[in-house]
Amino acid sequence: MKYIATIGDKSFEIEILSNGEIILNGEQLTADFQSVADQPIYSLLLDGQSYEASIHPTDSGIQVLLRGQLIDVRVEDERQRRLRESSGGQVIQSGDIHLKAPMPGLVVTIPVEEGQDVASGDNLIILESMKMQNELKAPRAGVISRLRVKTGDNVEQNQVLLILS
């Protein structure tokens, strides 16, 4: 099975063979790979080199925390890549972003209003948690189409706070 893994502007062609080996950019290597103690932590022995990483899925790919570095990887097989390339290499930004609470907390300030235009990085909500005031910022420019909470609300983790269109 062939895959293309992309990190930023770098791409790696990786083929996984059935015998526990892989072909990485043309070179054949043995890859002994397993999760440790049923946790999302993985041990890889790649031609004898030992690596351990914690690996998590995200909305846009896979996040690898390896030796103190967080690396975002997009993995596609050939079919997925052809599909994306035939659509002009453009991933269409699907309309709405639901801004969710990253942790439970108390909404202390909402410096925006419904209908307001915001730029990427603007503060949208200040959420108090663990004795800290945490600024939740706009991940991209847009308009606040819906506010789902108000100042003073206690919110749960992953509760939708507002919708950015």
């Binding site: 099975m1 895959y3 893994a5 992309t6 990190i7 930023g8 770098k10 790696f12 990786i14 996984i16 892989i22 990485l24 950019n25 890859a31 790979f33 103690a37 946790q39 999302p40 932590i41 993985y42 890889l44 790649l46 080199q49 690596y51 990483a53 914690s54 690996i55 998590h56 899925p57 790919g61 896979i62 690898v64 925390l65 390896l66 030796r67 103190g68 570095q69 967080l70 690396i71 990887v73 993995v75 097989d77 990253p102 942790m103 439970p104 907390g105 948690s129 663990m130 004795k131 800290m132 005031q133 945490n134 600024e135 910022k137 983790q157």
Partner: protein, 503 residues
């Protein structure tokens, strides 16, 4: 004298105090909120009493309930730890009035050092230099501030009296900028804190935050245990401390140590405390404040002096004389402390909550971990985000940095995000290794992306392989499920399994 200590705190510091008590043969009584029934301090103490609901104001800040519990369970003393009630002179007063021993300074010293103005006046009168400025002098008008400014000298800072977090703060280079900046600062402070009062403070360039650990007994002996370097901060939160300071020399240490002891004596200080200084690049140093309690970062001083500060606190509270004179003390080797917080260093240090699914702490020679958590415990949103303190000791600064690196790499905490990668990036930073940093380093000249680590060029490639192997495995699993006849459900099953695994 008391033989049972009530610990009016939670988390790692409550565990730390229980350990000290146990090693002195004292009994311990823990208190806990409804969120902390399974906390390590409750599990480890000899006794444990419920305070109330999770929010601090209903539990760990309920001084009245705590004193009542202490009396009922026969604890003769209360150790407040840090935070919560530790620097509340009214609480210390109530403890004494209840006939119990407060393991800390006298209420009068807490009060004197707790009021910025009184503290500055007191230590100034004792001959200790403070950062030039108008802090603690009450609400001054723009006219008054403009008059005083040239005496302080430029550059200077306008700061909000009610302030914190940089809100209402402005840097002023010259007198003609000042009226406009005063307006702006007052406006911002008013909207942020509902209080437009500001004060002026001399801007110390390349300032370092260096603090001295003090021990004072009830027989009038005051000694210091050397300094801690605490310049690595973010939003005024210390992240990493070391002892000694790479900036220090023996002459300066003696001078600052004496001044620290003088400041402590000026309020008839008792028990453990810390004098914080700002030090400029020319080794001028200014009293900043005194923390009238045990400090989070006390272990690094323990590592280089061999003194168990918490045990000394208890001995002092029992009326004992200090077991050491200033001449007995020497600094042996080098210690670092990394505060491991449940925070995401890749996302603006947002706090992270959840159940810890796995914890493997580093160990081995020269490594100490002070923690109040374990695998299966939940990091709740009610209290601060400190998970543990990773403390290392080495013969030299070079050795301890290498040791801290390997300890950070060994540390595995799953279930919440942690700032361990931040510490790893710091340990690789050339500026940190060279010791050339000041209090603005983390916020202004540091980024998680500028990684100085060597030989990490092939890490992206390895990450690509890892991600691909995980993807491959998951798609194999999902196709197996589909082959077992669940075609309709598409691949949602492995997705949910994968997500469950990563919750």
């Amino acid at each position: 004298m008391f033989n049972k200590v009530l610990i009016a705190n939670r988390g790692e510091i409550a565990v730390r105090i229980i350990r000290a008590c146990r090693e002195l043969g004292m009994e311990t009584a823990a208190v806990y909120s409804e969120a902390d029934r399974s906390a390590l301090h409750v599990r480890q103490a000899d006794e444990a009493y419920l305070l109330g609901p999770a929010p601090s104001r209903d539990s760990y800040l309920r001084g009245d309930v705590i004193i009542d519990i202490a009396k009922r369970c026969g604890a003769g003393a209360i150790h407040p730890g840090y935070g919560f009630l530790a620097e509340r002179d009214d609480f210390a007063q109530s403890v004494e009035e209840a006939g119990l021993v407060f393991i800390g300074p006298r209420p009068s010293a807490i009060a004197a050092m707790g009021d910025k103005g009184v503290a500055r006046t007191t230590v100034t009168n004792a001959g200790v230099a403070v950062v030039p400025g108008t802090e603690g002098e009450g609400s001054l008008t723009d006219e008054e501030l403009l008059q005083i400014a040239p005496k302080i000298g430029f550059p200077l800072l306008i700061k909000a009296t009610a302030g914190g977090g940089g809100k209402g703060m402005r840097e002023v280079q010259s007198i003609d900028q000042m009226p406009g900046l005063l307006q702006a600062a007052r406006r911002e402070a008013e909207s942020a804190f509902g209080d437009g009062n500001v004060y002026l403070e001399k801007l110390i360039l390349n300032a370092r935050h260096i603090e001295f650990q003090i021990l004072a007994d009830s027989h009038g002996n005051v000694i210091h245990l050397g300094e801690r370097e605490c310049s690595l901060q973010r939003r005024h939160q210390k992240l990493l401390e070391e002892a000694p300071s790479p900036f220090m020399n023996e002459e300066l240490r003696v001078k600052m140590g004496e001044v620290a002891c003088t400041a402590a004596r000026s309020v008839e200080y008792l028990n453990a405390g810390t004098i914080e200084f700002l030090v400029d690049r020319d080794q001028n140093f200014y009293f900043l404040e005194m923390n009238t309690r045990l400090q989070v970062e006390h272990p690094i001083t323990e590592m280089v002096t061999g003194i168990d500060i918490v045990k000394e606190q208890i001995r002092i509270a029992r009326g004992r004389k200090l077991r050491y004179t200033q001449d007995d003390l020497s600094i042996n080797g080098w210690a670092l402390e990394c505060r491991v917080n449940a925070e995401d260093p890749y996302n603006n240090f947002l706090p992270s909550t959840g159940v810890l699914s796995s914890v493997i702490a580093p160990s081995g020679p020269g490594v100490r971990v002070d923690t109040g958590v374990y695998a299966g415990f939940e990091i709740s949103p009610y209290y601060d985000s400190l998970i543990s303190k990773l403390i290392c000791w080495g013969e030299t600064r070079g050795e301890v940095i290498l040791r801290m690196r390997r300890a950070l790499e060994e540390y595995r905490i799953l279930g919440v995000k942690t700032n361990i990668p931040f510490h790893q990036t710091i340990m690789d930073s050339h500026r940190f290794i060279a010791g050339s940093f000041d209090t603005r380093f983390v916020e202004e000249r540091f980024s998680m992306e500028d990684n100085d680590a060597e030989e990490k060029e092939d890490l992206p490639m390895i990450a690509a392989v890892l991600a691909t192997l995980v993807s491959h495995r998951e798609s194999q699993l999902s196709s197996q499920i589909i082959q077992r006849g669940d075609r309709d459900t598409s691949n949602w099953k492995w997705v949910s399994r994968w997500e469950r695994m990563h919750r």
